[in-house]
């Protein structure tokens, strides 16, 4: 099993519902976030292009954050989900520095926090909070090892990209373009 998220940038309107849903679902303190919106504008008026997308931890296969963690608090569990055990984290911030995507932040309680793909919801058979709330239904989640999954099919049939592939992190958040 290999979990992956696929986000359709052609449909995302940048509303941030995914952000606020994550914050309420995961008790993320005000002023912090596990996911955020990126807006990229190119061209010049009136030939402008705009990409809106929801960004978060890419749950990389080759995760520098995990490799550099001195205590083992950052680790990978079944399905390729990268997690941080708060109690084991000493807040040294090595992982924050090492992540090419700026996906991690230091929680005011001292440990490092980030997107978990809503691991606790997956256990209940629910989708991650952001995916379940997105009004444009532009986010998809599933098992990339399963050829019948929506995510597998979307990646098979649609043009897509990952962020900063040159970092060699093998991200598992994909963007349809």
């Amino acid at each position: 099993m290999r979990y992956a998220m696929v986000i359709d940038t052609l449909k995302c309107v940048g509303c941030s519902d995914c952000v606020v849903a994550c914050q309420t679902e995961n008790n993320v303190p005000h002023g912090y976030c596990r996911d955020w919106i990126t807006e990229a504008v190119s061209g010049s008026y009136p030939s402008v292009e705009l990409e809106l997308r929801s960004d978060r931890c890419n749950h990389c296969d080759n995760a520098p954050c995990v490799r550099c963690c001195p205590t083992g608090a950052s680790h990978i569990v079944e399905g390729g989900i990268v997690l941080v055990t708060g109690d084991e984290c000493i807040g040294c911030g090595a992982c924050i520095e090492s992540c090419p995507y700026d996906a991690r932040y230091q929680h005011p309680d001292g440990y490092v926090d980030k997107c978990t793909f809503c691991h606790h919801r997956l256990e209940k058979g629910q989708l991650p909070a952001c995916v379940s709330v997105c009004p444009t239904k532009c986010m998809y989640f599933g098992d990339l090892d399963n050829p019948n999954s929506e995510v597998f099919q979307l990646l098979k049939n649609r043009k897509h990209k990952t962020l900063a592939p040159e970092a060699g992190t093998k991200p598992h958040v994909f963007y349809l373009i």
């Binding site: 052609l10 449909k11 309107v13 509303c15 941030s16 519902d17 952000v19 606020v20 849903a21 914050q23 309420t24 005000h30 002023g31 912090y32 976030c33 955020w36 919106i37 990126t38 990229a40 504008v41 190119s42 010049s44 008026y45 009136p46 402008v48 292009e49 705009l50 809106l52 080759n62 520098p64 995990v66 550099c68 083992g72 680790h75 569990v77 997690l83 084991e88 040294c92 911030g93 090595a94 924050i96 520095e97 090492s98 995507y101 700026d102 230091q106 606790h120 256990e123 379940s132 709330v133 009004p135 444009t136 239904k137 532009c138 900063a164 040159e166 970092a167 060699g168 992190t169 093998k170």
Partner: protein
Amino acid sequence: MISKDNYKYIYIRKLMKYMVTSRRKFIKISALGLGGLATTSAAFGLFKTNPLLDAAIKENVSKKLYRSATYCEVCFWKCAAWAYTDENNNIKKIIGNDDDPHCNGRLCPRGTGGVGMYSDEDRLKTPLIRTTVNGEQTYREASWDEALDLIASKFKDIKEEYGPESFALLKHGSPGSHLEHLFKAYGSDTIAEPAYAQCRGPRETGFGLTFGSWVGSPEPTDIRDTKCLVLIGSHLGENMHNSQVQEMSDAIDNGATIITVDPRFSTAASKSKHWLPIKPATDIALLLSWMHVLIEEDLYNKKYVEKYTKGFNELKAHVKTFTPEWAYGITTIKPEEIRKTARIMAAAAPSVIVHPGRHVTWYGDDSQRSRAIAMLNGLLGSWGNRGGFYFKEKISIPKYPHPDYPKPKWGWHDLGEQYPFAEMGITSEIIKATIPNEDNKHPIKAWMVAGTNLINTLPQREKTIEAINAVDFLVVIDTMPMEITGYADVVLPECTYLERYDGIRSATNRTPSIAVRVPAVKPKYDSKPAWWISQQIGKRIGLGDYFNYNDFEEVIEWQLNKLGTSLDEMKKIGVKHFDRKSGPLFLKEGQDYEFYTPSGKIEFYSQQLANKGFAPIPVYTAHPQPPQGFYRLNYGRSPMHTFSRTINNPNLSDLKSENMLWVNPKVARILGLKKHQEVWLKNQDDIVSTFSIKVRITERIRWDSVYLYHGFGHNNKKLSRAFGKGISDTELISKTVVDPLMGGTGLRGNFVSILTENPHKNSEL
């Protein structure tokens, strides 16, 4: 090391800044060798089980949450939802009701962040009464009894001295309907809401005159099945009118063509196959020209036009000269683009929607522009066809018995009598009638304001304040301290939608449905629901018979029983669907259909308008363009906020805490503006913004306009998060052009210059 700058990403969220700052707290670790590593994590042996985390997950899984049915009040879309509370009665989250056609289980960001409306520590907490201490006016906390007694005595005084009609109600949202009942029982229908004359009124007039039917809310647009969606200044996706945004996404999946007409490269424009970057204030020219192409090229829906419309020949003659070349000179849209887009619409017809928009009070000829949009839909045959407009239906909620309302001697209708097609109270006419004037036939002496922050809602702030200064008595009911509450004689703290029962939601949709709102938690502080406030005032002024219940719960229960359900059932399901009774959603091939117009047809030529001396077919009139050194002030919605009411919401302010001034790079170069530079705005009437705003240099805006999100720039210090954040567009809208048909105030004819020096420096010294 990969930096975001390599990707030229602009971070629109301030949260990113927090992340960057927190990151700086740490000792820098030199960049790790990232490139070229292809080994998977499994090969590093990084997998492990984690007993601590597993326990945390288990706890989270087993945590019991209780859910209560509600419908969202963060905007007017009223999505049905479940509020989840834990065993300590904390609201944990709000999730859309899967069965609800307004949200389909997915709330918008504001609805998801609605818990902040409840948890906001700046909320109004007790009734307040204006008082003077040592010559200074201030508020003192009061008991409900004292505040209500005072209000009741004013209701009596006004009635005795001037008649009940002189007490006006200005309102918005759910609290409004409870207070409307009080006012009507008292004998006043001097009632208005900014949602009409400052927002969607003109489109109801324009569509009403053409199809004989209001657009209403939610709009009966069959977006999910459309082949072509045309948006004219309507920024779906930035306005999060939930199910519509959802359907626009479905339409994208289905390969529909989106055409967006907007001087700004809106989010919707970025999803569009065709974006027409129109010169502001010239839309009618484009609409007339589109009609010209459809008719001249014989592309209009002939069968439909023949069967259902009236006045086609007059329309044909009218648009004869409005060629795309003519429109090009006005709109700056190239003739071939106009032709091409008209042909795309025709090819998709009747599965095409030229969207009526929502906030349409722009230039003063808005009813006529809305009519042109309606007529274009008529030519394409989209009204009553799949992928166009469906025939909406709703359930009427049985009236809880009460004595008849007395008949007022005058009311909103008389105040707006010079606007023959006004169908609701006009706020600006209430203002006019409140400002003392000898010719004033119907002077207004007192106001109740509920759920609307008039100061940040109405244009011409000076007039609003003049009227406020003139009233004998002003009571404001709100959940939050707003600008308007600062002017009140008495302030009543309303509890939020999460803490109260309210009227049953029944709205027009594909199939009728109802939704209920029951309290998820008890009212916080000393706040009370609007139904209770109305009842308490009513009882004190001898109108107890109109409020014959102990709790509003009884009213809903009674109504639900009449509808064949019960409160118990509704608490479990939240939303209930009913069968359609009015016939099918769409016209059948060749079906006879009578429209609710005088002729029973779709009226291209409007005798009603001609009779009142107005253009029976819309004409284009030129509107002023900004003079040298000025830019058109355009404003719109941020998806995370609804008007000024949500800016202080802790969850939503976290998403967007201030607005920015969108400026084209060319303009920035000429004026020497830098990214995030602090500037002030001064409008054509020398009105200077109270606060400053940061510059956002972006190619998404024309060089003749600036743009900002509406609702920001609060100047009530009690709003700890919102105070002083950004600029209020409303305060710079001092010029309005009034729609002669229905009294709407065109708000988009204001021009601003950009000040780089603090204009308040001296006044602060």
